[in-house]
């Protein structure tokens, strides 16, 4: 069992002061093996904070990130899965599932983690699974009026990945989960 935290679009300090306290108390060091961050942290303090949670940190660049050295996209292998990360402001139309599918094909990954829209999404298509962990701070977004803070925790076990999404709705943390299974050729959901 490998735990991967997918998180992003915090937009600290421009749009939000900090992670919600309820999230902060849940994210403790030593429990997570990898962190995948879609981008738009935006300042070094947030980067350092993530490092304390887990040293294996992968970040891609969001359009407001202070550190311009983050890559535009990144791929990595965890267990049986190939994962790709891309913030998503480069993929037009923004949030368009088919265009994101193209990126997934281009990076040749089973799971694409992307952000920018501040809306949680997890769905499968022919080429794989796309996951958007939403905004961890519930930051203002031009996409939607209704931004609940959210992040995703993936449990990768063999050919199976369970995606847990944590959302802060009306002050309470709600959890949901989705199962994905990878066959020899492509993943399928149930």
């Amino acid at each position: 069992m490998v735990l991967v935290l997918a998180i992003g679009d915090l937009n600290i300090p421009h749009r939000a002061p900090d992670l919600p306290p309820k999230f902060k108390s849940m994210l403790v060091p030593g429990k997570i093996q990898h962190i995948i961050c879609t981008g738009n942290l935006c300042i070094k303090e947030v980067h350092d904070y993530f490092k304390t949670l887990c040293p294996d940190l992968h970040i891609t660049r969001g359009e407001y990130d202070e550190d311009s050295r983050y890559p535009e996209n990144k791929t990595l292998t965890i267990g049986q899965f190939k994962l790709g990360i891309c913030h998503g402001h480069q993929v037009i139309p923004w949030g368009d599932l088919d265009s994101l599918a193209m990126v997934q094909r281009q990076l040749d990954v089973d799971i694409l983690v992307t952000g920018h829209t501040h809306q949680f999404k997890a769905y499968k298509h022919e080429g794989g699974v796309v996951i958007n962990p939403g905004s961890a701070t519930g930051a203002y977004s031009s996409f939607t009026y209704d931004v609940n803070p959210s992040f995703v925790l993936m449990d990768i076990d063999g050919l199976r990945v369970v995606v847990y999404v944590y959302e802060l709705i009306d002050g309470e943390v709600k959890v949901d989960k989705i199962d994905f299974k990878k066959t020899a050729t492509a993943p399928s959901a149930h």
Binding site: I12, P13, E45, H89, S99, R105, S142
Partner: protein
Amino acid sequence: MLNGTEDEEKWLAEGIAGIQHNAFYMHRALDSNNLREALKYSAQMLSELRTSKLSPHKYYELYMRAFDELKRLELFFKDDSKHGVSVVDLYELVQHAGNILPRLYLLCTVGSIYIKSKEAPAKEVLKDLVEMCRGVQHPIRGLFLRSYLAQISRDKLPDIGSEYEGDADTVMDAVDFVLQNFTEMNKLWVRMQHQGPGGVREKREKERSELQDLVGKNLHVLSQIEGVDLEMYKETVLPRVLEQVVNCKDDLAQYYLMDCIIQVFPDEYHLQTLETLLGACPQLQPTVDVKTVLSRLMDRLSNYAASSADVLPEFLQVEAFSKLSNAIGKVIEAQLDMPAVGAITLYVSLLTFTLRVHPDRLDHVDQVLGACVKKLSNIPKLEDSRAMKQVVALLSAPLEKYNDIVTALTLSNYPRVMDHLDIGTNKLMAMVIIQSIMKNNSCISTADKVEVLFKLIKGLIKDIDGADVDELEEEDFKEEQNSVARLIHMLYNDEPEEMLKIICIVRKHTMVGGPKRLPFTVSSLVFSALRLLRQLQGQEGDIVGEEASMTPNKIFQLLTQAANGCDIEHVAYEFFTQAFLLYEEEIADSKAQVTAIHLIIGTLQRMNVFGVENRDTLTHKATGYSARLLKKADQCRAVYACSHLFWVDDQDGIKDGERVLLCLKRALRIANAAQQMANVARGSGGPVSLFVEILNKYIYFFEKGNKQITSSAIQGLIELINTEMQSDSTNPDSVADAFLASTLRYIQFQKQKGGVMGEKFESIKL
């Protein structure tokens, strides 16, 4: 000096040898029950203590040797079967010793047995002994002698419940005895100060402090006497001790004894005698460090208050706060040259006290702060860093206690204290305040509180006269400003009217921050405003159009955000125009340009507020800039992104198939050009990938039903890609290979779907 120490060692050695020598013979006498001999040799032994050559430290060593021997002697004296003399007679006999010091040591030893025998009331023996000791007026010798007396009498005091209590003996007698011994010992101790040559004051003070516990022990004994209850403490013990303390007029003694009283007696007693105790303070010598005494008293009482909630009413009943407050005021007034750090430390102790005892009395807290302000006002410029630290401690205490900045903001004197800090410390304190807010997740929700808050943190918001902004390291400055940016989000009210007031106040304060600060703070402000705008739905604000000299990138980003949030056509159009202008004139970095173009395209693609003409103009501009990016690969990608500008999936969205195809073809041309350049330059990264990307776009629009995109076009493109890949077989691009493979897989997948989609894709021959 070294000689002196060497000599002392020699004398000590001689003294010890003397004691041992006489002790040997004394033991022989004891063994043979020879009282006369025992007395003779014990007196000789004790004569060694008559020396005046030793420092207290060394004298103590000598004394301890003698002390051990006296114990054995006492045992012998007790057993009258051995020597056959009654204790009464013995008491008389020892007074024949030649010199007074040995005589008195022996007398005390016998006296101890006398009391134990109960042949006379304890009080009489004790009285006799304490008076007789007056015969030794040499400070060191006298102190040790009386210390011996205190030691051996300790378990024989007529305390309540002790065996020595009787009709003739009461607790009062015990108390009287100890008090008298204490008084005499203090007098001796003080006398030391005036002895000897005048030049060695420091040495004398050191020697005195070595002896302080001998004097203090008496107070300890008093505190242990069962019969000394609050009543007796209040009526007898404390007044008499204080009388001696004040009258001795010696600053060393006064400081030590005041502190000793505070440490040794119970806190409840202090509470009930607060007025008396505090009343002594102004009567002490001006050189006594009264503030430390008071601070320690307050700290003790604070801890007492914290120990249990039951004791709190007592504090209120005795009006502890006002008494302490007055006492401090008097002390500070009396000691005009007290350094600032001393006065402020006192206030810190008083503040801690009031926060512990009655935290709900904000007026008390404000009062302490006010007193501090008064003191600080009398100092032209506070430069002592320790004093500064204390002021920071003073200001931090309410924050920590209340966990809620809002409470601190109601203290009228709080900002006044801050005004007296130097600029560096002021900023430090401002950061402490912000951190407190962040840590406690506090929300400041009224405009007037926000106003007060910004006054407090003004050191961070703008340049203060005399401050040198350049001095601050870049990292620290960034951290400062980011903190302010985050703070802005903590200022919030659901009520739109109040929120607007808050935003206006924040804007007023941040706008004077200057070009260095605005890049950090304006973003937060704008987003705060945008949130409000959303709430107000459709009312525009002209908050974004500020003449702020921020980084172009920042402004650009804000403009696109604002455009998106705006549903008034001409205003949105204006935002875009400004954005394009800025892009052309200010955004020079090629990487920044790519991001900027994506922002424009992405934003424009989602907007449906524009009429045909306006939209056309904007898309034309966007496509133009896309084609003129620095690198061919970037050009290609931006141009095919523009294709989406002509096709929006909404019901009444634009669906111009032709112009989509035109865009894609343009992208192809650019990709071709890039390919040719690569062939010339050799090894330039993956233009083949570009073709595959464009292929994917063809498929995208084909799927969406763009009639202009035919299956043969797609097939042609696939063939083109295959050709390119084969011709480049010396330099295989595995990434592009995999990409093509997955694309083809997708086509297959769609074919197998069946239905309308399957039919459509059927026409693509692979």
